[in-house]
Symmetry: C2
Subunit: 345 residues, 2 copies
């Protein structure tokens, strides 16, 4: 086993703003051996997600940074190829946020919480779904919209990055909840997909000259729930359009990626909350992993009923990991960005 090479991306430097490819280095190392109660998993799909930008910084965020020379953090799904754990055997499919940007990972299934290892049923859905709508992004939409925002029938739900990994599910869950879904994205192609999966109205934030006017036109009775994956000008327009008692979920801030770590300057809108009596909630899906089973069971059921559809954007080969991540940061991905890792020839 250890004569096969494991290719992995390590962090080469802490970048400023939007990283370029020099932030990482592809290394070839021997495939590691699993220790007691560990498993060795060969990647089939690796995920890139916006949170990874936060890990590429010296300052502490909600999670520890990736150290220089350390394998990039990230989720993956793959096939068990060796097991020293009594509950796992070769051929099982495992998913973990602790996979890393690499072809082979040693995982510790006894670990619990967000970094745990989960057994994936390949009969339920394509296994890469465990990185998207039946995984962390799906749970983000589920808990953020249903629990944190407490969406109700009749609400107008505005979602930014609406064709993204989380946004697609937010729009569809809003419809399942009996709400009206208004999608914001950066191209007509993305918005056509949002309409296809049921969104009632769409806003092209790149083409709308006056974003505030566009939000108010699309949400004539105000925004009851704003699910924010971007921050920036979309957030401003939404915050100025809140209905009385609105709930805002601050889930992502991809619009700030180019100025990562810098203070974000602009108009401050907290004072206006006194008028709307709205609530703004910072959201982190890792707080909800104790309810993972419940969320995934319900998402899977809606999927089986045809009420949830999902679009992925797949690149091939571990070489493409930086490209995939950079596509996410500049919005050129269309749907959940994944990288497929080919099995060895």
């Amino acid at each position: 086993m250890s004569t096969i090479a494991n290719r992995r991306w390590v962090l080469a430097a802490y970048p400023k703003g939007i990283p370029d490819a020099s932030a990482w280095r592809l290394e070839e190392v021997p495939v590691p051996r699993p220790g007691p109660r560990q498993i060795l998993v060969r990647a089939r799909y690796l995920s890139v997600d916006p949170y990874m930008r936060g890990r590429m910084a010296e300052g502490a965020n909600y999670a520890a940074s990736v150290r220089i020379g350390e394998t990039m953090h990230g989720g993956g799904v793959g096939e068990v190829v060796a097991s020293e754990h009594p509950d796992w055997r070769p051929g099982d499919i495992a998913e973990s946020m602790a996979f890393g940007w690499q072809e082979y990972a040693v995982l510790s299934p006894d670990r619990t919480g967000p970094g745990g290892t989960h057994r994936i049923d390949p009969g339920l859905a394509p296994i890469e779904s465990a990185l998207s709508w039946l995984g962390m992004p799906g749970m983000t939409a589920y808990f953020g919209l249903l629990e944190t925002a407490r969406v109700r029938a009749g609400d107008t739900v505005l979602v930014s990055a609406a064709s993204g990994a989380v946004g697609q599910i937010v729009g569809q869950l809003a419809k399942i909840a009996g709400a009206r879904a208004v999608a914001v994205a950066g191209s007509q192609r993305k918005l056509a997909w949002c309409r296809e999966i049921g969104c009632d109205a769409t806003i092209d934030y790149k083409a709308s000259g006056d974003l505030l006017a566009a939000v108010r036109e699309a949400c004539p009775n105000g925004v009851d729930v704003f699910f924010d994956n971007t921050g920036g000008p979309i957030q401003d327009a939404a915050m100025k359009s809140l209905a009385i008692g609105a709930r805002v979920v601050i889930c992502g801030r991809i619009a700030q990626a180019a100025r990562f770590g810098e203070p974000e300057m602009g108009e401050r809108l907290l004072g206006s909350l006194i008028v709307s009596r709205a609530s703004v909630h910072g959201f982190l899906v890792f707080d909800w992993y104790h309810r993972r089973e419940e969320a995934l069971a319900r998402l899977a059921a809606w999927g089986r009923e045809g009420r949830l559809r999902f679009r992925e954007d797949v690149l091939d080969g571990i070489e493409r990991m930086p490209d995939a991540f950079l596509r996410l940061l500049d919005g050129s991905n269309f749907g959940k960005q994944l990288v497929r890792i080919a099995p060895p020839a």
Copy 2:
């Protein structure tokens, strides 16, 4: 009755920024007569409150503006001098937010909600308490801290304008709830009072060069509840010091008074909520008037037990209404600002 003059302050112009005395005009008109199911009340105390600035503007806020030439809106407490309502008789004490800046008001006791008329028991506490800790400001602290912020034992509660009408009660309710209270105010004299009523730590925002360092020193485990009566730099320092799961109540924005109606520019801190998973709530006490009796009964009980103390700042004579209001806007009041209206000689 109609031969006695009623002096009243009407709005003369919509001011920019901090108003000066030219914003109002003192008029003398005949005392009005109560219609069917109305009462005529002679003012004993009138209130000035920060929300009045919002009514002195053409744009709609959460409540309608005062029209030019209309009597300024405001709460008052006084003695019934004539009644056309079967439940009220001369000598009764009445409080209403619909009183206005005037010596005599005709009130409609059948009206419900925040603009309703409430019977005040003069044996319970000095009647002016109905404008402060046993009235709207007391309810603001009560519902804002106990319901919206859901304060818990062990929390660190940071309150701005801590010696003000609402702030004094917030600090003391925090202590009653078993929390630690940290007071922010603009003078050592005000902070000495905050310590006297039980606050554990104090911050002089005018004397603290580095407000962020001062907040972090006073709240070494972070701020669990921030009760914000001011906005501005204190809000910034607090928002950068939130503990995981913190709750922020946006109750007032007196720091913005000088730039009223202008956009508030500065550092935007919503993105940081993803790290703290905090919630920010716009708060308006008028949403809670259906629970007025409960709040006032509990506040009164704590007052009887000596667990709530309250400081007022009283000017004499209806002529002083603009002065009193302007003292509030520049922070030169010390405690709840009231104006005592002398009975006619």
